[in-house]
């Protein structure tokens, strides 16, 4: 692809953006436009494919190709698009309900196959578009219109699901930190293979403040830790604290004694970072959990076709139909 330099404005469409005022989606849209302007791909080679949900309105607002499809199926549609034309930069925008409820099967299989897609999952722990039912990431006990006495469902941990499905790039970012979104998406774009990016997103109407304990600027410093390749695992207002992993356990240590983060390692450290979510005493992890190099599905499909075509020669339809066991009459 020829490297091009766009401005975020080039990636705006002429459509009026219509999310509720204050919705976290706005910040993500702006940050995405800023990031995609820098990935060196011309607008015509970018396509955004989404499912159904508030977040899935995203393609209408982007000045590239877009496909707003049906609930849960974006990953499957995008798999077809990317496999048909590996030259395209294909981005999937989906919600926690869209991706993990109805679309759970397609999501895990796209990740397992390592299709070179960038999946942005906006997680607001609620169904926004259908006006506030609990989702597969809602915490147990959440009271919603369909769980008036508290949800008894146990939630998915999306990062764990992605890691378990074999996704080769797994990251998390948050709508309150546009710079972090942008750098995460740039890393995702640079990764060859599937990138699953969970984005904590605030639905001001139906689940306001779901992430506030971790997502506000102040909380972020104390209660989250940013996983950056080659950087020490430090957090706190002045980056004074660090994490060290030994014997499968995580301990808080002085910053100077912190481990350095390496998302390319095959070790199960990424899972341990995802499990931080379950510990009240430890920060939740943002940033890049895993970054592995593996052959992509779309690349392998193309390679097989290319190599067999080189070996057998370009298919000749006449020969295919007129086989040697054909016979002549008259």
């Amino acid at each position: 692809m020829s490297a091009v330099q766009l401005t975020p404005k080039d990636l705006k469409s002429d459509q009026e953006v219509r999310w509720c005022p204050g919705c976290g989606d706005y910040a993500i849209l702006n940050a995405t436009q800023a990031a995609l302007a820098e990935i060196g791909v011309p607008r015509e080679k970018m396509t955004i494919i989404s499912g159904i949900g508030c977040s899935s309105r995203f393609p209408y607002y982007m000045g590239c190709y877009g496909f707003h499809s049906i609930h849960g199926r974006a990953a499957a549609i995008a798999t077809g698009t990317k496999t048909a034309n590996p030259d395209l930069s294909v981005w999937v925008v989906t919600g926690d309900g869209d991706a993990m409820s109805i679309g759970g099967n397609h999501l895990i299989h796209a990740m397992r196959r390592n299709v070179d897609l960038k999946i942005l999952m906006f997680n607001n722990q609620i169904y926004g578009l259908t006006k506030g039912q609990y989702s597969p990431t809602s915490p147990a006990g959440l009271k919603t219109k369909t769980s008036p006495y508290g949800s008894v469902d146990l939630p998915f941990n999306p990062i764990n699901l992605a890691l378990g499905s074999g996704a080769t790039f797994v990251a998390r970012t948050v709508d309150t930190n546009p710079k972090h979104i942008k750098s995460t998406l740039l890393a995702a774009a640079a990764h060859k293979g599937i990138a699953f990016v969970e984005i904590w997103q605030n639905c001001v109407i139906f689940n306001d403040g779901a992430w506030k304990d971790w997502s506000t600027k102040d909380a972020r410093a104390e209660r989250t830790i940013d996983l950056q390749p080659g950087q020490p695992l430090v957090f706190g207002k002045d980056n004074e604290k660090g994490l060290r992993i030994s014997g499968g356990e995580v301990e808080v240590v002085a910053a100077a004694d912190a481990d350095v983060w390496d998302p390319t390692t095959a070790a199960p450290l990424a899972y341990i970072m995802a499990y931080l979510d379950e510990r009240e005493d430890l920060p939740h992890a943002l940033g890049i959990f895993r970054q592995h190099d593996k052959p992509t599905y779309d690349g392998a499909v193309k390679e097989q076709i290319d190599s067999l075509t080189a070996k057998k020669g370009k298919g000749d339809l006449k020969k295919l139909i007129y086989t040697k066991d054909a016979w002549q009459v008259g």
């Binding site: 199926r73 077809g80 496999t83 397609h106 066991d325």
Partner: protein, 614 residues
């Protein structure tokens, strides 16, 4: 002593045995050899749903029927002249179908007490008078094969597995067919296992020679090649294979690469398997996680500029319905192949029925019209696949192509098309930004196909209702009315490019029989014979295009006093026709037994209707 050879014009043989007995291989070999001899032929494989039903039981019986003839035929035959029964269960399940006085060859080696028990038989049907009125040829095939293969390095179990080739040899002898094609096939098939090739060759020859040596038959038969066959190059083909070839050809005629997203399901799986072999044609096949993903990848591929296709059978079609609506709304070309099978839910997965018609026409939320066509025979599946591609590309629409289990696994000689003369229908993908609008229309009401990667045509599509021309999301009531009408009219417009079918038989008659899909052969044979032998005033109209229906049907229907609609369902085409042509009366004739119509059933029904008894 020389054995007399009698000429016959038309023969039906049924091979029946345990599902492990290799009856399908035997049948396919007999079919291929018969095709090479130059007979017209039709086959009907009938296998159990369970891969391994208990050996020797009635549930495990697998059958393969072949009819071959010196004249043009349309069905695999109603009544076998010869039944080969490899065990007691196979005999008891099949003998009643055999023509009176017909030949039954029974492998006595599999009629022991234990075999009778497994077949739930109190007495031995070979001895208790059950087969009175048939010419029974009892041969201990197990023993003959064991003798023939004495000294073979194979285990005795493996030796016995060669018995189907013994039977094949015997039938080749009886019907004067050459054994060379099968010898060649064995050599290729077992190139890496020479001892198996050897054993099967020996069994084949032993069976063939036993005809002369043992003199179990009074004579041999000969079925000479079809004389007035249309000149051309022929090959033998099964429906699923023809369909796969038709899809690749259709894509090439459209100047597009073919993309198949699919999920295995009987009896559609072979199409995926055949296409998966065609990498050097640039065919992309994706075996997806389910049917929904199958159709969705195909939609995604069509969006990216390829010819998206998905193949399935009934239950899979049900899963695809929501995505079909998306394809209707986004107006992308897409081929959806449904190889119908019997019954709701998982039903009778290996049996035949044609009961997905109404689902194909209406099985989507809201008004979501799309063209539907159905193939009639194995060879016709090729033409129908090409036709489906043409409609999809020219009209920017999903198309459903219906086949069924009878066509999928049935074989017939296929007169190969002259590839250079097939009309091309190159897809017109737009590249010029001047005047481009995502939902502008051409003369066929098709919208322009702008493919991601094309500079200046960046646009958004999706399942939400689109504003006419601009393609922006629109909730405007007038616009929804307009777009619904455009989608309807676009699909109806396909009529402009399809021919009015011609009824075969008299232009005016007492009765018109209207059919679709695989019942073509039975209806055609039944009506032809009634006209020829009994001078019955009956004609046959076959419908390939089921939506939209072609122009001119009204006038055709008006020329006949009564209209009979035989279908392997509870009344689907007849209901459609009744709604579309209320001035005529359509008499439904249904059968849902998991079996095709026989030509005789059609004849009897026609006679009953004409006699006012129905």
């Amino acid at each position: 002593m020389s054995i007399a050879v009698t000429r016959q014009d038309d023969v039906v043989i049924r091979f029946a045995g345990d599902s492990g007995d290799g009856m399908q291989i035997t049948g396919n070999q007999f079919t291929d050899t018969t095709a090479k001899v130059g007979n017209d032929l039709a086959t009907f494989p009938d296998f159990p749903a369970e891969i391994r039903a208990p050996a020797g039981t009635r549930a495990g019986v697998s059958g393969f029927q072949i009819r071959f003839s010196s004249t043009d035929i349309h069905t695999a035959g109603d009544i076998p002249d010869v039944l080969v029964a490899m065990n007691a269960a196979a005999l008891i399940m099949n003998y009643k179908d055999v023509a009176p006085g017909g030949i039954i060859i029974a492998n006595t080696g599999n009629f022991t007490e234990r075999d009778l028990q497994k077949a739930k038989l109190a007495t031995n049907p070979l001895e208790d008078g059950t087969l009175d009125g048939y010419r029974v040829i009892a041969i201990d095939i197990n023993a003959r094969v064991t003798e023939a293969l004495a000294g073979s390095p194979l285990t005795s179990k493996d030796v016995l597995r060669c018995k189907n080739f013994y039977v094949l040899g015997l039938m080749y002898w009886l019907y004067s067919r050459p054994i060379e094609p099968t010898l060649e096939w064995l050599a290729a098939k077992f190139a890496k296992k020479p001892e198996l090739a050897d054993a099967n060759r020996t069994a084949l020859r032993a069976g063939y020679n036993s005809g002369d040596i043992h003199e179990v038959f009074q004579g041999r038969y000969e079925v000479v090649p079809v004389e007035n066959a249309i000149p051309g190059t022929y090959r033998n083909i099964m429906g699923n294979h023809a369909l796969a070839l038709g899809l690749v050809t259709g894509a090439e005629l459209a100047n597009l690469k073919l993309f198949l997203g699919s999920y295995p399901i009987t009896p559609a799986t072979d199409i995926l398997q055949h296409l998966a072999e065609l990498k050097e044609f640039g065919v992309i096949t994706c075996q997806m996680e389910d049917e929904i993903a199958g159709i969705c990848t195909a939609i995604g591929a069509s969006y990216a500029g390829l010819l998206g296709c998905t193949t399935t059978s009934g239950p899979g079609l049900a899963l695809k319905t929501e995505a079909m609506g998306l394809a209707v709304m986004t107006e992308l070309p897409l081929i959806i192949v449904d190889v119908q099978r019997a019954g709701p839910s998982t039903g009778l997965p290996t049996k035949v029925e044609q009961a997905d018609l109404l689902q194909s026409l209406f099985g989507r939320n809201s008004d979501a019209p799309l063209p539907v066509l159905a193939c009639a025979t194995a060879a016709d599946a090729f033409d129908c696949a090409v036709e489906a591609c043409r409609i999809a590309v020219q009209y920017m629409t999903p198309v459903i192509l219906l086949s069924d289990n009878y066509i999928a696994n049935g074989a017939e000689p296929w007169r190969l098309p002259e590839m250079d003369k097939l009309p091309r229908f190159p897809a017109a993908q737009v590249t010029d930004p001047a005047g481009y609008a995502p939902y502008a229309r051409d003369g066929k009401l098709a919208r322009p196909w702008a493919v991601p990667g094309t500079p200046g045509l960046e646009h958004r599509i999706g399942g939400l209702e689109k504003e006419n021309i601009t393609g922006n999301v629109s909730h405007n009531p007038e616009n929804h009315q307009l777009m619904s009408e455009i989608r309807r009219d676009k699909v109806l417009g396909v009529r402009d490019t399809i021919p009015t079918p011609e009824a075969s038989g008299p232009r005016e008659a007492d009765l018109l029989v209207v059919g679709w899909g695989s019942t073509y052969g039975a209806i055609r044979s039944g009506t032809e014979r009634l006209r020829r032998e009994q001078n019955v005033s009956v004609a046959h109209l076959h419908l390939r295009h089921l939506w939209p229906l072609p122009y001119g049907l009204d006038e055709i229907f008006a020329r006949y006093k009564q209209i009979l609609v035989p279908e392997l369902n509870m009344g689907q085409l007849s209901r459609l026709l009744q709604g579309e042509y209320p001035d005529h009366r359509f008499l439904h004739f249904g059968k849902v037994k998991g079996k095709p119509f026989t030509a005789r059933e059609i004849r009897e029904k026609i006679t009953a209707v004409l006699e006012g008894k129905s």
